[in-house]
């Protein structure tokens, strides 16, 4: 070793770690494991923490991990710290016991609140602790959940003090935000670090999710239940997480308008009519669930969902109203409630809390205001104010407010958090952290703790607010065993084999269809642009807009809203058609629509598709024709990649059929349009050449005919030839195939409207040939296509009304 020896990561970190740091304060055995881990990470990253951070960040982006702060238009990339937190089996067992006990206690308290209310009646719990919560819904009283389980999952925010003692900071039962991110953090980390986690004997997360799913299913009425994950929609902060979880757990991702309550039963609108839903994992607050029973302003809920709950036979996790337990004020009573209801102390203490609705406690908070933080008694996400930071006037104002409405306030002791290694500006740096740990019921109703969690590292500010504050980072939590973790055994045996993926909700079918149409429209727009820039037109035609052929090409772009109209030079015109977001038909705007529709399908699209859709447009310069040509060609390749993914990677489900129908429909309609423009009775040779080019049929034509383009054979090839995948006839045949394969609602064997129209269309085209085809035929075919598209929408996408046919309910 040279003189210039660099400290290894572990020693460099320990030199600056404060007292009580998770690594610095670890037992000798655990300290060794921290060292081993840091050494290995260091080796992988050529001793540069920045490289490690970059590896992990890239994996997170690759997984499509994203989130929003409230009010964000665009999703942000996920800030994942590269160094996991290590906890050993003994310490973890203590946390597990504490949280299981707490989940038990919370369930008992919630049950009591919504049934006999004996806790309030006996004076163990003040009535206004309950009624002050915005998540308390009195209408749920006497409406018990299946098997008495108000809670199926529970998440606790816990903090570790500098002396190593764990405390519960907050209880969460409305949505377990973070559980999906915890899963993705683990995935990103293990991808970035190879076999590191395995060699450290890190406990696996997958079995927990299997238990969770079985736990949800066990409380459903039917044995092979259909369970939906109810999302507030794509603008919710954690929508990406919800979509990921739905896919991971095999749940149906649904929004309120996918669902309908009929005669007290919950159904999902699918392309096969209404299908019964047995359970909902809701990711929205109770107040939004049913505008007729809770908040009448809600537009994202399901009318009469309350009825379905009250009638019984519907599992909802967590049960409406359960959120009442989240009030911070409860923390002041849980120690006594544990004694009263469980006959024992809390294994994990919560942060010391005083509810000001009690005169003595209120006096205590006033007297010790400098040592405490003060905050809302009921809003779990409202910020705390440290009493010591208040000036005289602010303090007087606070005391005045507390005198008038003491019940709205709690005082809490100041949280002192220990630190863990993070990478900041390329350096290993100790940051304070909290953990969100997830607990869920298994099939027997017993609580299971996920062996891991979501670690939040404080950038700055109050770490107890939302999931991720500005500047915060997340990290994985690894529970490490001393011996290798056995591979997963399948609990309860393998599930029954099935070859079809389940229900296709009507809205998902709708989105898939339009995803196909927009991708195809984008591709055709790109072909038009490329033709204008001169990518493939015969050399002597050149990139000029003077010819009538070119003028019509520009007109078509204008008709599609890609450019404002004729006029201007080739370069600026094509730049507009490619990149001007204000033009609703520009490639940029179309791709934004594709991404937007795709977002509504997050649970159904592979991450490869998602990444392609969200890639930014290639750069180009309006003044340099080659760059426009290059950009449009690269975009066309991207469209081909999307086609390839759909063709090779999408299972031949009904979902794929709708996506493919969208593409076929758009391609056929565009074909009619282009033939009308460039294949008319007076078409010039330039026109026909362009038509062959736009419909990607140049090569086929040249291999078949030695002459230049002539009208009858060109028309036959692009309109009628049933083996040409660009021809209208080919699209019509595929549409007929798809429609024939889709489920029917009729019990009498008669064809439904889309089937009739699709068959008639194929039959209309079949007898025609290139020399008999007229432009009136083309116009008629275009009309029939539009009617078919309309009929598909009517039949499969819109089901506002309950259908009268009882046979389709199942």
């Amino acid at each position: 070793m040279g003189i210039d020896v660099q400290l290894n990561w572990a020693d460099a970190y320990l030199a600056q770690a404060p007292v009580g740091d998770l690594f610095a304060g670890a037992s000798p055995t655990m300290a060794m494991r921290w060292r081993t881990m840091l050494d290995q990470l260091s080796t992988q990253a050529q001793a540069d923490p920045a490289i490690l951070a970059d590896h992990v960040a890239r994996q997170a982006i690759d997984l499509g991990m994203a989130f929003r702060h409230t009010g964000d238009e665009e999703e942000r990339s996920w800030p994942l710290g590269p160094v996991p937190l290590l906890v050993d089996a003994a310490e973890w067992a203590h946390i597990e016991r504490g949280l299981i006990q707490r989940a038990d206690l919370l369930e008992r308290v919630v049950s009591d609140i919504y049934s006999t209310q004996s806790l309030v009646r006996d004076g163990k719990l003040p009535a206004s602790i309950v009624t002050g919560s915005p998540h308390y819904w009195r209408v749920m009283t006497g409406t018990p959940p299946p098997r008495g389980h108000h809670l199926h999952f529970y998440a606790a925010d816990i903090g570790r003090g500098p002396t190593g003692e764990w405390r519960v900071l907050a209880d969460r039962v409305r949505t377990p935000v973070g559980v999906g991110y915890a899963l993705e953090n683990r995935l990103a980390l293990s991808r970035a670090t190879g076999d590191l986690l395995g060699t450290m004997n890190t406990r696996r997360l997958a079995p927990f999710f299997d238990e969770l799913r079985r736990g949800l299913a066990a409380d459903c009425e039917r044995t092979d239940p259909r369970i939906g994950l109810l999302t507030p929609g794509r603008f919710n902060q954690s929508y990406a997480e919800q979509a990921h979880l739905a896919r991971y757990l095999g749940l149906l991702l649904v929004e309120g308008d996918d669902l309908i309550v009929s005669d007290g039963r919950l159904f999902v609108r699918t392309i096969q009519g209404l299908k019964r839903i047995d359970g909902l994992w809701r990711w929205m607050d109770s107040r939004f669930l049913d505008p007729l029973a809770f908040d009448g302003q809600s537009r994202i809920g399901v009318p009469d969902l309350y009825d379905a709950c009250a009638r019984g036979g519907l599992m909802v996790s967590n049960w409406p109203g359960a959120g009442v337990i989240e009030s911070r004020a409860f923390a002041a009573f849980l120690p006594q409630l544990a004694q009263a209801m469980l006959g024992t102390d809390l294994i994990l203490p919560n942060i010391a809390t005083w509810w000001c609705g009690q005169p003595r406690e209120c006096d205590h908070v006033r007297a010790r205001i400098d040592d405490l933080v003060v905050g809302s008694a009921f809003l779990a996400d409202a910020p705390f104010t440290p009493g010591a930071t208040l000036d005289r006037d602010q303090r007087a104002a606070l005391f005045d407010a507390m005198a008038r409405r003491p019940m709205d306030y709690v005082g809490q002791e100041v949280v002192k958090l220990s630190t863990t290694p993070a990478v900041i500006d390329g350096q290993l740096t100790p940051l304070p952290f909290t953990l969100r740990i997830f607990v869920a019921r298994d099939a027997t109703g017993r609580w299971r703790v996920m062996p891991g969690g979501f670690a939040r590292l404080a950038g700055h500010g109050d770490i107890r607010a939302a999931l991720m504050g500005q500047g915060d980072m997340s990290a994985d939590l690894c529970v490490v065993d001393s011996s290798p973790v056995p591979p997963d055994s399948l609990l309860g045996g393998a599930p029954a084999i099935r070859r079809i993926g389940g229900m296709l909700p009507a809205k998902a079918a709708d989105n898939l269809y339009w995803l196909g149409r927009y991708i195809e429209r984008t591709e055709m727009t790109l072909r038009l642009i490329r033709a204008i820039v001169g990518g493939s037109i015969e050399a002597d035609l050149g990139p000029s807009l003077a010819s009538p052929t070119m003028a019509r090409l520009v007109d078509q772009l204008a008709l599609w809203g890609a450019v404002p109209g004729r006029g201007g030079a080739v370069g600026p015109l094509c730049a507009t058609a490619l990149g001007d977001a204000r033009q609703s038909g520009s490639v940029r705007a179309l791709m934004a629509t594709v991404a937007n529709i795709g977002e509504g399908l997050r649970d159904r699209l592979s991450s490869d598709v998602w990444r392609l859709v969200r890639l930014p447009l290639p750069g180009f310069d309006a003044a340099v024709t080659e760059t426009l040509l290059d950009a449009s060609s690269r975009m066309i390749e991207r469209m081909s990649a999307l086609s390839g993914l759909a063709a090779e990677n999408m299972g031949r489900t009904e979902g794929w059929r709708f996506h493919d129908m969208g593409r076929r429909m758009e391609r056929a309609v565009n074909g009619c349009r282009l033939i009308a423009l460039f294949g008319g009775d007076n078409a010039s040779a330039d026109d026909l050449m362009l038509l062959l080019d736009l419909m990607d049929s140049q090569i086929s034509y040249r291999t078949r005919y030695l002459t230049g383009p002539a009208l009858p054979p060109v028309r036959d090839l692009v309109a009628l030839e049933p083996h040409n995948p660009r021809a209208i006839a080919w699209q019509a045949l595929r549409l007929a195939d798809h429609v024939a394969a889709l489920p029917t609602l009729r019990a009498d064997g008669m064809p439904e409207e889309p089937r009739r129209l699709a068959d008639a269309l194929a039959a209309r085209l079949a007898p025609l040939t290139g020399d008999t085809l007229t432009m009136a035929d083309i116009a008629d075919v275009e009309n029939r296509l539009l009617r078919l598209s309309e009929a598909i929408g009517q039949r499969y996408f819109l089901q506002l009304h309950k259908t009268q046919d009882a046979d389709i309910l199942s």
Binding site: V120, A127, T131, G296, Q297, P303, R405, M407, D408, L800
Partner: protein, 298 residues
């Protein structure tokens, strides 16, 4: 006093309303000092579903579903009701103070529909606006006797706010009505409820009917009224709930007919729900609250 009440609502739509699922809160919930009989609800066209719903508060909720397209909907609710509160309630020197009532409310262990604990906190239509607290000032000072203090508050609202039908709608936030110092009974009841809760007192929003007293020698006006609204304050375990009508600046008595009580307007709205289609809605309401001896011959 016995009343005959008839309340007719006609909704007309320029384009057909295709589907309606809605709640009606027109039937009086049971309340002390009042009885109801001969209740009838007529809906035209007849709904496919009509049933009564559980409610969290002293509110009677009927759920209706109409599944066929309609251009007009008529709802008529009628009943007989007797009101007998005994001697009018007046402030008393022996009343508990504002502070005493606020403390008693926090200690109360009742969780029933009219338990004070439910009415202590902000609710969706009654946010605890600091501006209203500043305006109330010492009217609700902690050492004042509760009934006198609340009556003063009602009188201040009557004096300082302009009664202007049409200036606000059912959807107007209390903040707007307060800032403009104008509105109708709904706005005034909300201001009063918010003011009382800001002082830590349990206050409810009440919907009901008001007998319109005729001027001397004049026939009573018929059909000119809509539903009325006022505030109710829990005045401690002995006094219980007392109604204050800030529109008229009075403590409620035998002229006020109770229909429903909730935390704010949203809990007792006469009609709310989901309506699909039905653009260009126009609404006409006719309310007739006639003392029985004045009942017109059939």
């Amino acid at each position: 006093m016995i009343y005959h009440v008839r309340h007719r609502t006609i909704l007309r739509y320029a384009s057909p309303m295709r589907l309606a699922r809605f709640n009606l809160r027109l039937r009086p919930a049971p309340w002390m000092g009042q009885w109801t009989s001969d209740y009838a609800l007529r809906v035209d066209p007849a709904p496919s579903i009509i049933e009564s719903r559980p409610a969290a508060w002293p509110v009677h909720v009927a759920r209706l579903v109409i599944e066929s397209p309609i251009r007009q909907l008529t709802i008529e609710s009628s009943f007989r009701a007797g009101v007998q509160h005994g001697a009018p309630i007046v402030p008393d020197a022996g009343d508990p103070t504002v502070a005493t009532v606020a403390q008693a409310a926090l200690r109360d262990r009742d969780m029933g529909p009219s338990a004070p604990a439910h009415y202590l906190f902000a609710s969706p239509r009654a946010p605890l606006l600091a501006a209203i607290g500043a305006w109330v000032g010492d009217t609700l000072a902690p050492d004042r006797p509760i009934v006198a203090a609340a009556l003063d508050l009602a009188l201040r609202i009557k004096a300082e706010f302009a009664y202007q039908p049409g200036a606000t709608t059912a959807a107007t936030p209390v903040a707007d009505a307060f800032a403009a110092r104008h509105g109708v009974c709904q706005d005034f009841a909300h201001v009063m409820v918010v003011a009382l809760r800001l002082a830590g007192l349990p206050a409810a929003y009440v919907s009901g009917y008001l007998r319109t007293l005729p001027p001397p020698g004049m026939p009573r006006l018929v059909g000119a009224d809509a539903m009325h609204a006022w505030a109710m304050l829990w005045c401690g375990p002995t006094r219980g709930w007392i109604g204050f009508d800030p529109t008229n600046g009075v403590i409620t008595g035998d002229d006020h007919l109770f229909v429903a009580m909730g935390r704010d307007y949203a809990d007792v709205a006469p009609m709310d729900g989901l309506f699909v289609g039905g653009a260009g809605q126009s609404l006409s309401v006719m309310v007739d609250v006639a003392p029985e001896d004045e009942k017109e011959p059939a």
